[in-house]
Amino acid sequence: MKWVRVCRMEDILPGLGVCALVEGRQVAIFRVGQRLFALSNFDPFTRANVLSRGLVGSKGERLYVASPLLKHRFDLESGEYLDDPSVRVPVYAVKLEEGDVWVGVPVSEAAKVGT
């Protein structure tokens, strides 16, 4: 796993997401209160790099992002598509250190997502 520093915590408004370029991958990072989540920015249904621009919501205890295109919902923790768990988007490690947001990606392949 390789950790990359992407931005300051205050660069992400609570309840919003941003997209970071991490080792060639597009990673959507969401902030809910002081918690951070990272998953692929690629919406597998519409095949567009847009998840970071989606609305964050909750269903019961689960937090999810609704894709801005056709509102498919993905669990922020597991990447699971809420209506069909067999679809899931990759999730990444994310951490906060001294106000900096770090994303961890596997080192093996530096595949770009979505092309």
């Binding site: 408004l13 609570p14 997209c19 970071a20 095949r47 790099n49 609305l55 909750s58 801005p68």
Partner: protein, 838 residues
């Protein structure tokens, strides 16, 4: 010695009189003189004579009459000697103390040549029917002269007897005494469908003969109709000959004049039933006759009852067709209004006549479905005050009624080809929300355009299954949008967070966040990208542009009323060229620029604003455009300056956020080139001002707008639109266009008119003030964004890089760029759109 009562005529009413009197007293010696060979029978059901097995229609039996002590003389009364108080019946004389005439009426046979030919009949007595039956055995074609109630009964009989049947009516439609033109027309259709020939507006001049038998009818217009059997049913006339001979007072057009005790001009003689004339009126129905019989029986036994006229309302089943006519069916009351419902396809016609102020039912006509007759008739008789009497005809189109019309085979989701039936099936097998329906049926998983309709089907089906349907916004707020709007307005909430804390639970979602964002924007008009609001914004509002399928955006500058200078047109072209944007003219008379990457948006807008443009709010659930025709600026038909008004309206309402998008249009004359009637707000110029139409829609479920008010001056027009828009914003559901809103609004258009025009709720001033606030606080959202470094921060694809999204791939088409389809990506890995990098 007992006093003697003699009754002449043993029809339905004469019989009823004897029966009622005997139930009250055994005083009086009773004699009845009856012309017909049998005792009273049920004339109302006369046609049942042709049924198999033949029913017993008799009302009275000889045993019973004997038991009552009634002497029956089977003879025709031929005269009255009032001096001596005796009735002559052929060679008999019968003395009376009280004489009751219950002689009924006879069928009128117009004095035309050939009316006495063999094969001509009337339709009144059992004897008539016996003769008709015999003659019909060697007839092929029967014609009834007269398309009234009785004529149609007769036609039904002929049909039953196996004859080719025709009805000839002098008036322009059938049953002219009970029905209006439309009702008569529907009835005609129904009869024709049964194989009955209907000939209206036909005056029979003579009956042509073959030997001494009927051969054909000849009409005034020269045409003719063959016939072997003719029934005259051209109305009835009271049998008042005894009264005339003996000098009793009779009406000008016949009928024995009676008072409220049924007494004639001779205090010893009474008249009841169809032969009697009360206050200038003959009652050709059995119920009023029965009432007279009761009144007289009471009167003769010391009772107080009096006759005060009767209602001529009728409900009957003619040849299987239900027909009802009640009260003031022809709207003769001054100021009466008519409300119609007519569906010839279904074979139903209903008309209600309402009082001038529209609160009371005065009468009505029902054809094809008279199941409401009793209720409606009741409301009429009792002059019940009603809030919306028209709802008796058409229940308020509460979505329920509307959606119920969607057949099970209707396709709800065109992407996945899912029918309403399939969705209902899934609901019956357990699905209770959209998500599970999507999973079970795949409906709504394509373009998503049908999700609202799925919701409707879900609600309808759950209602049908008897389950409660929640109108809660979502799992986070147990309130409808309308309730939330009031909570926010009354309690003055300014942020989603505070509202969620006090009235909701959980974190919110893509349903409630934008809904609350829209409420806040409607009420306070703060910038949607303020820190507190930006996480609530839906896809397009979030970046003030319309996201397209590849994640790029389209940009629409405002072009009020669709009027634009050449310089501004050139400016748009230059911007499009500079950023490599695909351009298209929209239906709302402006230009859409496609293919802008997120990070390009501020640059594009900087250029557009420099050229004098403002945000067009194409991204918002907000006022979109006010489309206009060129009006009297150029058009030779135009009667007003439609472009000028459109520009003023667009500038007034621009930026107004609402439960859904709002479209408007202004046409310069009734030719309606701007298609204003397909808009939420449509204005059409008249010679005297402007007509205001509301709640129209194009799109998935087109709806013609309704006229809210006519011939307004501009000031009033604008006031009404202010109120209308604000009232809609306050009360509509989330993502509910004005068309659906109105259809679900209790009280419908009439109520809306009361609120907007008459200010029934006393809300007008508040609604106008709210609009004034919006107008004062309007700012171009893009201009404000460009001035705010905080807001501009959102407009980049990567937080940590200036690189563009390399997944955006354009291909060339017809001289412009468009996003590549998946299958093109592998073979044509084209570079990014040309254009200036920010």
């Amino acid at each position: 010695m007992l006093r003697r009562i003699v009754v002449v005529g043993n029809g339905m009413v004469g019989h009823k009189f004897l029966e009622t009197l005997r139930s009250r007293t055994s005083d009086y010696e009773l004699t009845v003189i009856a012309e017909e060979p049998c005792l009273a029978y049920d004339r109302v059901r006369l046609s049942a004579f042709f049924e198999q097995p033949r029913p017993d229609l008799s009302l009275g039996t000889y045993q019973q009459y004997q038991a009552w002590g009634v002497r029956v003389i089977n003879a025709k009364a031929t005269g009255i000697d009032r001096e001596r108080r005796v009735v002559q019946a052929e060679d008999l004389e019968v003395g009376y103390d009280i004489l009751v005439l219950a002689t009924g009426s006879y069928p009128f046979v117009p004095p035309i040549e050939g009316r006495d030919l063999q094969g001509c009949f009337t339709y009144r007595t059992l004897e008539d029917l016996t003769r008709i039956e015999a003659w019909a055995r060697h007839s092929r074609k029967g014609v009834v002269i007269g398309g009234g109630l009785l004529g149609l009964e007769a036609a039904g009989a002929l049909l039953k007897l196996g004859l080719e049947t025709h009805v000839v009516e002098l008036a322009s439609h059938l049953m002219p005494l009970q029905l209006d033109e439309l009702g008569g027309r529907l009835l005609r259709r129904k009869l024709e469908a049964m194989g009955i020939g209907v000939h209206v507006s036909k005056s029979t001049q003579r009956i042509e003969a073959r030997g001494d038998r009927v051969a054909a009818l000849r009409f005034a217009d020269g045409s003719s109709l063959e016939a072997d059997l003719v029934i005259f049913s051209a109305g009835i006339r009271p049998r008042d000959e005894l009264a005339r001979q003996s000098g009793l007072k009779v009406g000008e057009r016949g009928g024995i004049v009676i008072d409220e005790h049924c007494r004639t001009s001779d205090p010893h003689i009474y008249a009841i039933g169809e032969c009697a004339l009360y206050q200038g009126r003959i009652y050709g129905l059995v119920a009023p006759g029965y009432e007279m019989a009761r009144v007289l029986a009471e009167h003769l036994t010391g009772g107080e009852r009096t006759f005060s006229g009767a209602d001529l309302s009728t409900k009957l089943k003619l040849l299987g067709v239900e027909v009802g006519s009640f009260g003031d069916a022809f709207a003769q009351t001054p100021g009466a209004r008519e409300v119609l419902y007519s569906d010839f396809g279904k074979g139903v016609y209903k008309k209600l006549v309402l009082s001038e102020e529209g609160r009371r039912l005065l009468g009505g006509i029902l054809v094809g479905d008279a199941s409401d007759y009793a209720n409606l008739h009741n409301l009429t008789l009792n002059a019940v005050e009603l809030d919306n009497p028209e709802h008796l005809l058409i229940p308020p189109v509460e979505g329920r009624a509307m959606r119920a019309s969607l057949p099970m085979t209707a396709r709800v989701c065109s992407c996945e080809n899912v029918t309403k039936g399939a969705i209902c099936e899934a609901i019956r097998s357990g699905c209770r929300d959209i998500a599970s329906l999507k999973k079970a049926t795949r409906a709504g998983t394509g373009c998503g355009g049908c999700v609202a309709m799925m919701g409707d089907v879900l609600k309808e089906e759950l209602l049908r299954l008897g389950e409660k349907v929640s109108d809660h916004l979502c799992e986070h707020f147990p309130y409808s949008r309308r309730e939330l709007f009031d909570i926010v307005r009354v309690r003055g909430y300014k942020t989603f967070e505070a509202l969620l804390r006090d009235y909701g639970k959980g974190y919110g979602c893509e349903v409630c966040k934008p809904a609350v964002a829209s409420i806040l924007a409607s009420l306070y008009n703060e910038h949607v990208l303020e820190e507190a609001h930006v996480p609530l914004q839906d896809t397009n509002d979030r970046f003030l542009a319309n996201m397209q399928r590849d994640g790029t955006y389209s940009v629409v500058p405002r072009i009020p009323g669709g009027e634009i200078t050449p310089d501004k047109l050139i400016a748009i072209g230059q911007v499009a060229k500079k950023y490599g944007l695909y351009t298209k003219i929209t239906g709302g008379q402006r230009v859409d620029l496609f293919g802008a990457r997120l990070e390009q948006l501020p640059h594009i807008w900087a250029d557009l604003i420099a050229a004098g443009f403002e945000s067009g709010h194409a991204y918002g659930k907000a006022l979109r455009t006010v489309k206009s025709c060129v009006g009297d600026t150029w058009c030779r038909y135009g009667v007003q300056d439609s472009v000028g008004l459109a520009i003023r309206l667009e500038n007034r309402y621009k930026g107004l956020r609402a439960p859904h998008k709002i479209k408007m249009a202004v046409s310069g004359c009734t030719r309606e080139c701007a298609e204003a009637q397909s808009k939420d707000v449509g204005v059409i110029a008249t010679e005297r001002g402007w007509n205001l139409y509301v709640c129209g829609n194009g799109g998935m479920k087109p709806r013609h707008a309704d006229l809210l008010a006519a011939d307004l001056d501009e000031e009033t027009l604008v006031r009404y639109i202010d109120r209308f828009l604000m009232f809609y914003i306050r009360t509509a559901d989330r993502l509910q266009r004005t068309s659906v809103w109105l259809e679900k609004l209790e009280g419908g258009l009439e109520y809306l008119r009361e609120v907007i025009v008459e200010d029934k709720l006393g809300l007008a001033a508040e609604l106008e003030a709210q609009m004034a606030h919006h107008i004062q606080t309007y700012r171009c959202e893009w201009k404000a964004t460009l001035e705010s470094p905080e807001k501009l921060k959102h407009f980049r694809h990567f937080i940590n890089s200036d690189a563009p999204d390399d997944n955006i791939v354009m291909v060339e088409q017809r001289g412009q760029h468009r996003p590549a389809y998946d299958f093109e990506r592998e073979t044509l890995p084209l570079p990014l759109a040309t254009g200036v990098k920010p």
